[in-house]
Each structure stands twice: as C-alpha cells, then as structure tokens.
C-alpha cells in the first residue's frame, strides 16, 4: 500500500478514471502556506469539472498520476520545475534547464546559479 501523502487522492482519481470519458484537465500546485504543498487535480467527467485536493509538505515525495493518465507526467514535471516538489519516478527538466533558476514559484524562491 502506498504511503505517499497524495495516495488517497490518486486512489480516488483512479476510481473516477474507470468512468469512460473522464480526463485529466490539469494539476494546479501551490505553496499554500510556507513549506506546504497543495495539489488540486482538476478532472472533466462528462463535461462537469471535478477537483480532488491533497495537502502535504513541499518536500514530501508524491505518488505520480502518470500510471492513470499519461498526460499527467508533463504536468508533474512542470510542478517539479516550478515548485521543487518530488514525484516518485518522475524527473523535472521540462521547461527549466540545469544551472538556471530553481523552483521559482516557491514563496522563498530557492534561486539559481
């Protein structure tokens, strides 16, 4: 059984994905309090917008949604780039290059070289 802080959210989305036609719209990530990460999974189920939320520490490793929706991988890679979050088995480097700015959407941006 997964021990990731977002495991409950992922399980709920996995259940929702069984309904043919449900798709992932996007994942909103925010440092909602200093050091706290909020992930909002936004889904479309038959034209209705549904959200599933998960809150945890910014540095906690999260479970990836890419086993449910292939499109989730790039969304998670972007979150790694912009907030420095961690997803199991997913690397960052989607938009930001090594040696450049690091986690620019953190409240206290980690900076770069």
């Amino acid at each position: 059984m997964s021990t990731h802080p977002n495991a409950e959210a992922i399980a709920k989305i996995r259940e929702m994905s069984k309904d043919n036609g449900t798709r992932l719209v996007t994942i909103v990530a925010e440092e909602y309090v200093p050091g706290g990460l909020e992930l909002i999974y936004v889904l479309d189920a038959g034209g209705e917008l549904r959200t599933v939320r998960s809150r945890s520490g910014l540095d906690d490793e999260q479970e990836s949604l890419s086993s449910v929706f292939k499109g989730a991988e790039n969304m998670e890679r972007e979150i790694i780039d912009l907030l420095g979050a961690r997803f199991e088995g997913v690397k960052g480097g989607l938009f930001l290059m090594p040696g450049g700015v690091v986690a620019p959407l953190r409240r206290a941006a980690a900076g770069g070289e």
Binding site: N20, G21, T22, R23, L24, V25, T26, V28, E30, I40, V42, D44, G47, L49, T51, F69, K70, G71, E73, N74, M75, L82, G93, L94, F95, L96, M97, V101, P104, L105
Partner: protein, 355 residues
C-alpha cells in the same frame, strides 16, 4: 541485427513556427519512438501575471499570439466569478463574436500551415489571404489585429456599432463563398488525402489518457466542445470524427471554419441592446476555475485571490500543453517523411505550451 537511429526533429525546423525538439527513434524509415523536449520558450508568465490582477489582462493576452482574446476572456470570466458579477448580455455576445473571429484566423493559419507542410504553396497563400481579411476586420472593430484589448473585468471596453455589424455580416458572406473551394481541395484532393489519411492516428483511449482537447480530441471521437455550455442560446453542436488521423484533424478545422461563420452571424443577429460593463470594485477574495473553448481546445484559468492586488496563484492550462504531448502516441509506426504533416496537424503552439 536491427539498427536504431536517433534523429533530432527541431528545435529549428522549416515546419515549426516556434522551437520544439522531437527526438525520433527510427528503424530504417519507420518511427519506433519519440521523445518530446521543451524548454526553449519558457517565459515564467504565471508568476508575472499574478503580480497585479488589474494588469493581468494585458499579460494574459500575450500568452499566445493566435488565441489571445480567449485568454483574456477566460481570465475576465474567472475574475467576474470571484467578484460575484456577470458581464452584461451584450458584452457576452461581443465576446462570442470576437472569439469566433479569432477562431477563424487560427484555423485558417493552421490549415494554411498544413498546406504549406505538404508543398501546397498556392493553397497556403489562399488560406492566408482569407485570414488577412478577418484580421483587417478585427482591426476595424477593435483597433487591433492580434491583441484585441477589448476585455475588461465586468464586460468589454468597446461596442460593435450597427455599421460594423453590417460590415461583419458582409465579410462572413464573402469568406463563406471564398473558403468553400479551398475546403473542397482539403476534403477531396488526392495528394492531400494520401499524405493525411491513416497518418498519425491517435486512438480515443490515447486521446483521453493524454487529455487531448479541441480539434485533436474531437478528431479522435471525443465529443466535447465547451461552446456547448458557454454559448447558450446559439444552438451549438460539436463536430466530431472517429478516424483520429491527420485528415480527421484537418477536416474538423475545415468544418469548424464554416461553423464559426454561422456562430458569428447568429451572435450578431441575436445581440441585445444594453450596457457593456458592470463595475468591479475593490480587491476580491475567492477562487475560480474557468474554461473556454479556444481554437486549439480547452483553456482553463485557476485564480486564487486573497483581497490584495497580488493574486495568490494564477494557473493557466493551455490546450497545446496536452495536445503536443499526444504526438508521442501518434508517430510510432509512421514513416519519417510523414512527421512534418502529422506535427502540423496537431497545430502546436509552443508559446501556449511553455507560457
């Protein structure tokens, strides 16, 4: 022993209007895998746009140079929801008219680009000639060709006068007449069909898994178009095909061009009299998820405001972000010579993808 070759497709390539790299894995001439690399155009706009909600309209129109009005319309609707106001009916009609004008310019660009990628220079130029007429029309109505600067939180800043309405209706008649023969070429030309039918197939299951939207999703059997809910009263039905190939994606855009002409007519004819804006005062608090059907598919804005001019978070979801990723599922099994047309059939926008 089979030899696998790696070929970089882009970031600089004649069919790409913006930089994108696709690392193609080839077995002789057949593509067996593809890895898409981004990061040449990232501007960090989400952070910049959250700095002052009153100035965000200016920036969100610049997320994309093709569907700029959709970005500002979606943002304004999101802020209106947080303010607890609704744009007047006349302003909503003006937004629909100008969004559909911009869809025409976007689809004509995508179709022209597809023609050019297949070596049809004349067809490309004819698509752009029609596009130019719509851009000139938008310029006369709004004062701008690309970034209309028409939206404001609570409505629109300029009206469409009776003379402009008549001019727009006349322009739609002319476009419908002139686009019909071009549509016939896209639909029936033997070479175009051979370059697109059965090429770059995206199955419905893959389209759902990648979250493909807009003409890419609808060409793969996903019958969703947000105009069904946003354009209430205009009797809208989405154009959906099942083939999932480059031809289907092109044909969805061809048919949607005629559909947009019809929507502009209906919106102009049913536009009521009344005010253009309602006031939006103060610094609001709240959260909104707002969606709009842009030419390439669903645009979504997440806005979180906490009673200050700075927004707590602004997230922009663009259609190209998911549609470009779906190329990974389209290209395996294709000949390397088909890659440019398949790529263009997705209508990739890297400005939107990377923001």
């Amino acid at each position: 022993m089979a030899v696998t070759t790696l070929i970089p497709f882009g970031p600089q390539h004649p069919v790409f209007l913006e930089p994108l790299n696709i690392q193609l894995k080839l077995d002789e001439e057949t593509v067996v895998g593809a890895e898409i690399n981004y990061g040449y155009n990232h501007r960090g706009m989400e952070r910049a746009m959250a700095a002052d909600f009153r100035r965000t309209i200016y920036m969100c129109e610049r997320v994309c140079g093709i569907c700029s009005f959709f970005h500002s319309s979606t943002y304004c609707r999101g802020m209106e929801e947080i303010f607890g106001i609704e744009a007047p009916e006349r302003a909503r009609h003006i937004r629909i008219v100008m969004m559909e004008c911009q869809r025409l310019t976007s689809h004509l660009l995508a179709l022209g680009h597809t023609a050019e990628a297949m070596g049809y220079e004349s067809l490309f130029m004819q698509c752009f000639r029609e596009r130019e007429a719509i851009m000139a029309l938008a310029n006369r109505v709004t004062g701008n060709r690309v970034h209309y600067s028409l939206n404001t939180i609570g409505g629109v800043r300029r009206d469409i006068t009776a003379e402009q309405k008549a001019e727009m209706l006349k322009a739609m008649d002319a476009l419908e007449d002139r686009f019909a023969p071009l549509a016939k070429v896209f639909r029936t030309d033997r070479t175009i069909r051979r370059r697109t039918v059965g090429k770059g197939v995206l199955s419905r299951a893959d389209a759902l898994s990648y979250g493909a939207v807009g003409p890419v999703g609808r060409a793969s059997g996903i019958g969703q178009d947000l105009r069904q809910t946003c354009y209430h009263g205009l009797d809208f039905r989405p154009i959906v095909r099942d083939e999932g190939d480059s031809y289907a994606r092109t044909m969805v855009r061809v048919d949607e061009t005629f559909q947009s002409i019809g929507l502009i007519r209906k919106a102009l004819e049913t536009m009521p009299d009344g005010p253009l804006t309602v006031p939006a005062k103060g610094n609001p608090s709240g959260e909104s998820f707002t969606r709009q059907e842009a030419p390439r598919g669903e645009v979504m804005y997440y806005i979180k405001a906490q009673g200050k001019v700075e927004l707590e978070r602004l997230k922009v979801k663009t259609p190209a972000f998911v549609n470009v990723a779906a190329l990974s599922a389209m290209v395996p099994g294709c000949e390397v010579a088909d890659i440019p047309v398949i790529t263009v059939s997705v209508d990739p926008c890297i400005c939107c993808t990377e923001r």
